[in-house]
């Protein structure tokens, strides 16, 4: 399994809204904790270490631009 980098989420707005809603009413610290849990839950769902490593590399470099 390798990281999907083509359009894969037809309900993109729904997904984005769900992520933002997760943070409603949370302090920055609480949000950071919720994000961490979310990442771990999704990481388990993906289950493949090389895919997740690829994603971490992309996430870090995209932010640096």
């Amino acid at each position: 399994m390798s990281l999907i980098l083509t359009r894969n989420a037809p309900a993109a707005d729904d997904i984005y809204e769900a992520i933002i809603r997760m943070h409603d009413g949370l302090s920055d610290e609480e949000s950071a904790r919720a994000n961490a849990r979310l990442i771990l839950i999704l990481a388990n769902h993906i289950g493949d270490a090389s895919t997740i490593k690829e994603a971490t590399t992309l996430a870090r470099s995209a932010g640096a631009r």
Binding site: A32, R33, A36, R37, I39, L40, I41, N44
Partner: protein, 529 residues
């Protein structure tokens, strides 16, 4: 000479003056360091008939708190060396670990370290390192070809083309030894390593841990209990039972502390009281504060100077990968050095010790580093992730494998070893080339008891393996279902096994040519055509 005051004594042997009065001696093998690694290496070589001298800077076995957790694989090696039964009898057997968070009564994670039952040895025993040293010394006494010299200290080491010149100081003389090989087993601060000016690269972790070995009477299960964020002082703590009613308590203190203050009993009491409860009476056996490092030498073999154990590689203690990692060095090195000294294999065989032992050290360093990063998060975000894992693990099984309180030592396979012949046949189960044998019941005993010392063939179905001159065959009868299952073996399958009980090659239908080629490769010989 090394000072000996302030070092508590377990067993005093006293200064051992030399028998020879000559200013120097010529030896085959000199081992520097009489700890568990140096002693085991001396015994392994001595059993093979080699003449060995061990020098130890101290005249006694120290009592301090060192290694306590000895793994199944180490016990298998000690058993091959003749002390496995004695260790098992004295040690506290354990196989289960539990992880607790914030003082909760229910563990958030449990693990069984021996998922495959029916093996001669348990996953772990706990036993104080001084017992291990004492038992090894007792066994060594049966071998007149092994000479332990107490209170002899190496003070200068000079490599020469075909050997090493070592200057040695004792309480009443200074003499030299010219040795073909020097085996440096002189521990974490290895004076030999320092005298040769070798780099020791890796990470130092900014955290302090308090060891309190305490004696108390209490009925607690013999399991490894690890607490994250306990309600008593310290960021984490670990509990291990040892023989003689001694318990190892380990508390994480943080970085900026006063180490001298930290070990004063009145300052340790709140930790111990918190963990044991207010009513348990206890007394201290040992108190110390340690920091740790994960690092190794770039190479373990420097011409005729060969490093093993802590002298070659250091890990954090969570995972019990220090002494157990060192025992794998012993297992790997002894038969190779014996063959080289015999002239049966070329000196290049020792290069495979360098590569195989480094493979193992890197696995141990990787696991220890990851455990330490989990326990001592390096950033605010790392702390948030650590807590997220612990929170999720309490309610959700899927998160439990992320909890890392130490990944406990297992024998590491020699991946990509130059001595291994890669599989040509597909096996559904069983140890791959480079991996250690897995034990199984066999006849009245155990499969592993049949291996060690020489190359052997493990043959399934009997009579199927080709006869190779000088190679014993261990036949597993058709009825030995457990062994056959563990090796993924049908009738006619065979494994070629090294003297250290690791697999060199395996076949479903071996033929003499293939076995001979694999044997030559595993012995570091050119393949003869």
């Amino acid at each position: 000479m090394m000072r000996t005051d302030n070092i508590p004594v377990w067993k005093d042997y006293g200064y051992a003056p030399r028998k020879s009065k000559a200013p120097g001696e010529t030896l085959e093998t000199l081992i520097v360091g009489g700890g568990p690694i140096g002693l085991a290496l001396a015994l392994d070589l001595g059993r093979k008939g080699r003449d060995v001298v061990v020098i130890n800077a101290l005249p006694f076995i120290a009592r301090g708190s060192k290694a306590i957790c000895f793994s199944k694989r180490s016990l298998e090696i000690y058993d091959r060396l003749g002390v496995g039964g004695r260790l098992l009898k004295k040690g506290v057997v354990w196989e289960k670990g539990k992880v607790f968070w914030k003082g909760g009564a229910e563990p958030i994670y449990e693990f069984d370290l021996l998922p495959i039952k029916d093996q001669k040895f348990p996953a772990f025993i706990n036993i104080q390192q001084y017992y291990v040293e004492e038992y090894l010394i007792d066994e060594i006494a049966r071998y007149p070809n092994i000479d332990i010299r107490w209170r002899h200290e190496a003070v200068a080491v000079t490599p020469r083309g075909d050997g090493v010149l070592v200057e040695i100081e004792t309480p009443d003389e200074r003499y030299w030894i010219e040795t073909r090989y020097l085996l440096a087993c002189d521990g974490a601060k290895s004076p030999v390593r320092t005298m040769l000016g070798l780099d020791f690269e890796g990470r130092v972790f900014e955290d302090n841990f308090l060891i309190a070995d305490v004696k108390f009477r209490d009925e607690r299960p013999t399991e490894r209990w690890f607490h994250f964020d306990p309600p008593w002082p310290g960021a984490s703590s670990l509990v291990h039972k040892q023989p003689d009613g001694v318990w190892r308590l380990d508390f994480q203190l943080g970085w900026n502390i006063d180490k001298k203050e930290a070990v004063k009993p009145q300052n340790v009491d709140p930790f111990v009281r918190g963990l044991l409860g207010p009513d348990v009476e206890f007394e201290y056996e040992w108190l110390s504060v340690y920091t740790f490092q994960c690092r190794r030498l770039a190479r373990f073999v420097h011409d005729r100077v060969i490093f093993a154990g802590d002298a070659a590689h250091l890990v954090s203690p969570f995972g019990a990968r220090g002494c157990n990692g060192g025992m794998q060095d012993v297992d790997n090195l002894a038969w190779k050095l014996d063959r080289v000294l015999n002239g049966a294999s070329p000196p290049a065989l020792l290069e495979s010790y360098n590569s195989e032992a480094i493979t193992v050290a890197d696995v141990n360093i990787m696991h220890s580093t990851r455990s330490t990063d989990f326990m001592t998060p390096k950033s605010g975000m790392a702390s948030i992730f650590r807590d997220a894992v612990l929170e999720l693990a309490r309610a959700h099984d899927f998160a439990r494998p992320f909890v890392n309180s130490g990944r406990l030592s297992q024998a590491a396979p020699y991946a990509n070893s130059p001595l291994s012949t890669p599989d040509a046949d597909g096996f559904a189960a069983g140890p791959e080339p480079g991996a250690p044998l897995i034990d199984a019941p066999l006849g009245d005993g155990w499969l592993l008891e049949k291996f060690g010392e020489t190359f052997k063939i493990l043959a399934f179905g009997g009579g199927a393996a080709p006869e190779i001159a000088g190679i014993d065959v261990v036949a597993v009868p058709a009825g030995a279902a457990v062994a056959r299952g563990r090796y993924g073996a049908e009738d006619g399958a065979a494994y070629l096994v090294r003297p250290d009980q690791h697999v060199a090659a395996r076949w479903k239908r071996p033929n003499a040519e293939a076995v001979n080629a694999a044997l030559a490769r595993a012995q570091g010989l050119e393949i003869r055509r």
